[in-house]
């Protein structure tokens, strides 16, 4: 499913003293089946932007078009029922997403709500909980009696169980342990490739951007200030630093060497690229035995 934003403005708390313009003139096209990363410093509008894709927030001005469904200031919840079945959002703070008595009931809720039978919902829930690697001993517990990372896994499972066509992830790996972070990113990537899911990933992890996304959107002050492939976006290091963004770790290390005079052909984005560049420079050096 494709997504388009046309001249979207969004104001929080409109017509109050706290009125706050958080998106300004957003124009954007996200093709069906793409993997887009959204980056930008604290408060730049990332979470606000993604909540427009299923109409949780509606544009104050302009419109959002998701596969033909138009969302504008006047759209009613009723009109969004079918769209919401296809757009799954994992929120920034997972606790806000949990509510049921048991973990399994929590994960089943989405599918049940969309009219799936109880047996089918239970199967999907178990399948999703296995995918996010939450050990079975926790399935009948209250989701509120879990550790932070375990709650995060339940929240992700709850969204996966609805079989969305668009998967929106707002810092989905914050709070996961290193192994969990890697496994979860691989799981999303597999869904993206095998089931052609359109993915929107909000993240501060530049290594994940470099490793997984085919497109990057950079936000600042409620606006899109850059949009392009990871290699293009990471090429302009001074600009990134100005926008309080980092680089993948391998690129950071390469810059330190480059600043001291090492001449690389191109900026590496991961360790194998970095080592490749180092080997090249070493081999180019005149030997002096």
């Amino acid at each position: 499913m494709s997504i388009a934003f046309e001249s979207v403005d969004f104001v929080y708390q409109a017509h109050t003293p706290f009125e706050n313009l958080s998106l300004r003139n957003i124009n954007l096209t996200i093709p069906d089946g793409s993997y887009t990363a959204i980056i930008g410093h604290t408060g730049s509008g990332k979470s606000t932007l993604i909540q427009h894709v299923n109409g949780l927030l509606r544009p104050t001005k302009g419109l959002v078009n998701v596969d033909g469904q138009i969302i504008n200031a006047n759209t009613k919840n009723k009109q969004l029922v079918s769209l919401r079945q296809h757009v799954g959002i994992v929120f920034q703070f997972p606790e806000s997403q949990l509510f049921a008595e048991t973990v399994v009931d929590d994960v089943k809720f989405g599918p049940l709500n969309f009219g799936v039978s109880d047996t089918e919902a239970t199967n999907r829930a178990k399948d999703a909980l296995q995918k996010v690697k939450l050990p079975e001993e926790f399935w009948q517990k209250s989701p509120f009696e879990l550790s932070g990372g375990q709650m995060r896994r339940v929240a992700i499972a709850g969204v996966l169980a609805t079989n969305p066509k668009i998967l929106i992830l707002d810092e989905p790996t914050a709070g996961l342990d290193p192994q969990g972070r890697f496994e979860m990113m691989e799981l999303f990537n597999e869904l993206h490739h095998k089931e052609q899911l359109t993915i929107l990933l909000v993240t501060h992890q530049m290594d994940d951007v470099a490793n997984y996304a085919d497109n990057v959107i950079v936000m600042d002050g409620g606006q899109i200030v850059k949009n392009g492939a990871p290699v293009e976006v990471f090429r302009d290091t001074k600009w990134l630093i100005k926008h309080q963004l980092g680089l993948p770790k391998a690129a950071n290390f390469a810059i330190k060497l480059a600043d001291r005079g090492v001449k690389f052909d191109k900026m590496p984005l991961d360790i194998s690229g970095l080592v490749h560049q180092i080997v090249n420079v070493k081999d180019r050096r005149p030997s002096h035995e």
């Binding site: 604290t42 920034q92 879990l146 550790s147 342990d177 501060h204 970095l274």
Partner: protein, 280 residues
């Protein structure tokens, strides 16, 4: 050695979790003025340990000693005054109706007069770059902004011990760097003890001491360069090696062999590579 925290044989079991112990015979000492990182897989017991030290849970077995006081129902308030804790989810932290009230809350409890309080509040909000949000309700902030305010609240009351439970997980890279630096400055200037629960290996590498929890037990404890050089333990506990060790191993695979001690030292490895690549 001058330990500000001593935990002996601490065991904790949550109600209705069968035989499973969230903390299993944990003993540790934390030196006054040090920076300790606690790492470990999801559910390994890190937050439970932090909350126990802060007297938020009545533990089943063991002794917790904070700054010479043994934690008990009678002393819990004395101990809590010494500790500033930043919770994993900032929404569990906020008590004030506005950002300003929230940061002032801890100070009011300490009985600080209004004028001085305003000064302190303004000052810390500026330090975490949230001075423009004073009148905002905390629940109307972005994720990273919430974390900044939660940190400001703790810094304002200048506790002897700061416990950070993944307190910077939602910050942008630059913001995280700035906040860690800010806490580090306060830590050094005032001899404040810092305990930081984190999944960020590069942050843990900067600390004086690392404790690794696994299924409620401490499996390793020591200097970061020692702990993160133990590949077998890292694999077993689901932790990752630091970037520098990854790079080192990838170099070795390609036939480039830096001295082994550089595997845990990013600056020295950088230096060594410069020598290798720049000498004509």
């Amino acid at each position: 050695m001058n330990n500000i925290i001593d935990v002996k044989n601490l065991t904790y079991k949550y109600a209705n979790s069968g035989d499973k112990k969230a903390l299993d015979n944990v003993s540790l000492s934390i030196e006054k003025g040090s920076w300790t990182s606690i790492v470990g897989h999801n559910g390994s017991g890190k937050s439970t340990l932090a909350r126990s030290i802060d007297g938020l849970m009545s533990y089943n077995e063991g002794v917790i000693n904070v700054d010479g006081i043994i934690l008990s129902d009678d002393t819990v308030w004395d101990i809590r005054k010494k500790i500033g804790m930043i919770f994993q989810n900032p929404d569990n932290q906020f008590v004030g109706a506005t950002v300003e009230d929230d940061v002032a809350f801890g100070l009011e409890n300490l009985g600080i007069e209004t004028d001085k309080m305003h000064k302190i509040v303004n000052n810390v909000l500026k330090k975490v770059r949230m001075e423009d949000f004073k009148e905002r309700q905390p629940d109307q902030l972005s994720g990273g902004q919430k974390q900044r305010v939660a940190i400001a609240g703790v810094l304002a009351s200048k506790p002897e011990i700061i416990i950070l439970d993944e307190a910077t997980s939602m910050l942008d890279p630059q913001g995280r760097y700035e906040i860690i630096n800010l806490i580090n400055e306060i830590h050094q200037e005032n001899d404040i003890t810092v305990i930081s629960i984190t999944h960020d290996v590069s942050e843990a590498m900067l600390s004086d001491h690392v404790i690794v929890l696994n299924d409620g037990k401490i499996v390793e404890s020591g200097a970061p360069k020692k702990v993160f050089n133990d590949d077998e333990m890292l694999k077993l506990t689901g932790l990752e090696k630091p970037f520098n060790a990854h790079l080192f191993d990838a170099l070795v695979e390609q036939g480039i062999h830096p001295p082994v001690e550089l595997r845990m030292d990013e600056n020295d490895l950088e230096e060594w590579l410069c020598q290798l690549l720049l000498k004509a």
